[in-house]
Symmetry: C2
Subunit: 525 residues, 2 copies
Amino acid sequence: RSAPGFAAIYKEFVAGGWNSLPFDPEFGGQGMPWLLATTVQEMWQAANMGFGLVLLLNQGAIDAIHHHGSAEQKAAYLPKMISGEWTGTMNLTEPQAGSDLGQLKSRAVKEGDHYRITGQKIFITYGDHDFTENIVHMVLARTPDAPAGSKGISLFLVPKVMVGPDGTLKGRNDLRCVSLEHKLGINASPTAVMAYGDNGGAIGYLIGAENRGLECMFTMMNNARLTVGLQGVAIAERAYQQARDYARARVQSRELGSSRPEPVPIIRHPDIRRMLLTMRALTEATRALTYSAGLSLDLARRHPEAAERARHQRRVDLLTPVVKAWASETGVEVASLGVQVHGGMGYIEETGAAQHYRDARITPIYEGTSGIQANDLVFRKLGRDRGAAAAEFFAEIAALDGDLATALGGTLDRLREQLAAGLAALRGTTEWLVDIQDKIPQAAAASATPYLQLFGRVAGGYLMAKAALAAHWAQITGEGDSGFYDLKIITAQFYGDHVLSQAPALRQPIEHGWESVLDLDEQQI
Amino acid sequence: RSAPGFAAIYKEFVAGGWNSLPFDPEFGGQGMPWLLATTVQEMWQAANMGFGLVLLLNQGAIDAIHHHGSAEQKAAYLPKMISGEWTGTMNLTEPQAGSDLGQLKSRAVKEGDHYRITGQKIFITYGDHDFTENIVHMVLARTPDAPAGSKGISLFLVPKVMVGPDGTLKGRNDLRCVSLEHKLGINASPTAVMAYGDNGGAIGYLIGAENRGLECMFTMMNNARLTVGLQGVAIAERAYQQARDYARARVQSRELGSSRPEPVPIIRHPDIRRMLLTMRALTEATRALTYSAGLSLDLARRHPEAAERARHQRRVDLLTPVVKAWASETGVEVASLGVQVHGGMGYIEETGAAQHYRDARITPIYEGTSGIQANDLVFRKLGRDRGAAAAEFFAEIAALDGDLATALGGTLDRLREQLAAGLAALRGTTEWLVDIQDKIPQAAAASATPYLQLFGRVAGGYLMAKAALAAHWAQITGEGDSGFYDLKIITAQFYGDHVLSQAPALRQPIEHGWESVLDLDEQQI
C-alpha cells in the first residue's frame, strides 16, 4: 500500500493525460517531442522523486514493447500502459547478478505460446503497488538451452494479472512481492523483492527473439538512463529553490563591510551566494546537456534527412552515459550544498533539505553505476568509432569560439578561454583513451570516470557559453527580460570560473593516475 | 533513554579510564599527549559517531572550565567530568542565534553567588541522557545590563543536578529537555531542545568574567573543531574499511583483458580500485593533517622553549579551520564513495554504508560551518599577521622539495612537481587574499571556501609526500615491512595524481570567481 494520497494523485496524473505525452499516437500516445516530455517530467521528478519513479519505469517498459514486441503484444498492452491505466517495471537484478547480468539465473521454460518463469528478482522499483489494477513486468530470464553469460538472456513480458485476448483482466499470475527494502531515500517508492513461479511458474511472453534479451533491455535502459540524469537535474533544481528561499528568509549576522549592526538575510553573505550560484550553475549546465540529448533523440527519430537522423543518433549514444553519470553525480553535490546552506536546520529531517540529499544518492547507482557509464563511454562510445562521434561533437564546440569572440567589449573572453582550455584537455584525453584502450585496457578503465567528469564539465560549459552568447545578443538588441539575460551571463561566467576552470587539471588523473591504481596488489589495499 | 546497551558501554568506557587520557593529572587526568588522545579518539569516533559525540562535548566543557573556571569550580566539577562520571555539554545555539551568537537572548540575572538562567537552547548534543547521574551544561547567556551583540555574552556552568560543596548531589536544577530532533544521521546521539528556568530560573555559575563568554566559548570550540575534523577522518576510515571488505567479497563481472570468463571480486576492477584508493588517500591525508595539528597542540603547551611553544600555537591556530572544514567535507566525500562501491546494496540501510553517508553530513555544519571556518582562516588567521604564520608553514613545505629531489631514480619526481605547483598556487592566493581583504572584503569572503580547499589539499599533499619520502628511505635501508612502505608510496602518488594535481586550478575560482558572486542582485538569484 502506497503512502496516503499517492494512489489518488497517480489517478489524477493519468486522468490529466500526462503519462501519454511522448508516445506513439497509434497506441493512444500524444506523439509529442521527447524534449517536451523531458521538460515536463523534470517537474514531476522535482516534485517527488519517489512518485516520479513509477513514470520512469513504465516509460522504459513501453519503449521495450514498442520496439521489440509483436503486433499482438503491442495491441494488448501498449494502450493501457501509455495511458497509465497499467504500469510497467524492469526486472533485471538478482542477488548474484547486478552490473553483471550475465550471471542471472531466473529460468524460462517454453510451454506452447508462452513460457513458465521461475526465479527471484531484487531492487524492483514499483514491483508492486496499489496505483493500478495491473502491472506489466519486463523480466530477464534464461531458457534451459541458452548459452552461458550475457548471450543467453531473453526478455519476457509477465503480467501481474493475466489479460484476455479482448483486454479483460483474468486471474492472478504466479508472482508476488516478497518484501520491500529499507532504503536511504526515495522511500515513497516501493523497492520490491519479487518471486516468480513459486506455484509452478509465472506465465510470460517472449519479447523479441530468444537470447536477444540484452538488446531489448538496452532499449529500456538507454531511455531510463537519460531520465535518471534528468532526476539529477530535477533534484538539484528542487534543492536550489529550497535553499534560496531559506537564504532569503533566514536572518543572521551583519553584512560584511557595512556599518549597520543589524543582521541581514544570509543570502547577502558572499559564501552563501557562492553556494547558491554553484547550485544554480550546476543545475543549469546539467539541464542544458540533458535537454540537448533529448533534442537529439527527437531529431534522430524525426529529422527528414537520413544523414541528420544518423548524426543525432550518434550524439544521443555518445551523450547518454555522460548525462546519466554527470548529471546524477552533480545532483548529489547540489543536494549536499542545499543541506549546507541551511546550516544546522538542514540536518533536521522536517526541514526537507536532507531528503533531497538522501533521494539524490541513488541516481549515480541505479540503471548502471557511474563506473558502468564511464566504461560505456570509453570502450563502447569512443571505442566503436575510434572517437569519430566525439570528434564531431568537439568540432561543434570549437566552432563556438569564433562566435564568442564577436561579443562586444570582450564580455565573454574569459569564458571563451576557459572553454578553449577545457576543450583542448578533452580532445587530448580522448585521443589518449582511444589509443590506450587497445594497448592497456586496464588503464582506460581506471581513467574512465575522471574522463567522464571532464567530458561533462566541458560539454556543460559549451552549452552555458552558448546560452550566455544568446543572452548577450538579446541584451544588445533589447529584446525580452534584461534581468533574466543578466543572470544567464553571470551564471555562465560563474560556471566558467568555478567549474569549467577545473576541467583541464583532470588531464593528470586521466593520463597518469591509472599507474598507481594498477600498481596496487589487491591484498594490500 | 539511550539505545539499548549504550549506557552500559559508556560505563565500561569510563571504567577503562579512556576518558581521562589527555587531561590534567591534578584533577585525575592521565596527562597524556593530545596526539595520543587523538589517535585513540579516532577509534571511538569510527566505531560509533553517535556515541563518540558525548566524549567530544565533555572534552570541550572540561577545557573551558580548566582554562577559565575558578579554583573552587575546578575542584568541584573537573574530577568527575575528567573521569567521565559526569558529562558536559555546550549550549550555544538558539533559534535566532546560530552562527551569529550575538543574537542570543537567554538571560542570566545575578542572585548572590550565582545567577538565575532562563531561555531556550537548541541543537544541544547529549543535552540529556541516561549515561550518568549528572550533566554539566556550559550555557551562553546575557546579563541584564550587557552590551548588545557578541560583546555582551557570558558563560555559565549550569548543572543538571545541584552539587553540594562536598561534591554530593542535591536536588534537580530548573532545566529540562523539551524534545529531541529527528535528524539525518548520528541518531544514536540525542540532540536536545533545552529549556532553562521555566520555574523561576536555573542556578548557574559564571565562568570567567562577565561579557567575556565568547572567549571562553572559543576555548571549547577550537578544541571541538579539531575533534570534528577527526570525526571526518574517523568516518572516512570506517567507510573505507567497509567498502574494501565488500569489494573483496562481492564477485561480479569477468576481469578486464583476461581470457577467463569467471566473474572476479570487484576489487579487481580498475574503477573500483580507483574509488578505494581515493578513499584511502583522502583518509590518510586528512588524518596526517589532523594529527599534525594535534602534535602542534602538544608542543604549544609543553615544548621547553617559549619560541617553539609560540610557533606551534601559531600553527594550531592556522590549521584549526583547515582541519575542521577540509577533513569534514572530505569525510562526506569518502562516505559517499563508500556507498558507491557497494552499488545498489549501498542504498539499503541494513548494509551500513548509507549510515556513514548520513552521519558524516553533520560534520561540515556543527561547531561552525565550513563557510565560518573559511572566513576564520582568511580574515582572522591570515588577516591578523598578514599571512606571516602561513608563510612560515609554506616555507616548511618548500623545504621538503630538496629532500624529495634526493629520492633515488627520481621516484618521487612527479609528486615533487605536483607539490611545487600546489604550493605556488597556495602562496599566490594567500598574498592575493591578504591584499584584497582590506580593499574588497566581500571578495575575500567569496573566495574563502575554495582557498581553504586549496590549503587543505596542498597541506595534505605535503604530509603525504613527507610520508612517501620516509617510506622510500625505509625501503632502501630495508627496515620494517616493505609492503607497508610500498603502499605508502603508491597512495602518496595516487594522492598527487588525483587530488594534489587539482589544487593549482583553484586559483581561478579564488582570484576571479568572486566577481560573479558579488555582481548578482539578490532578488535575481
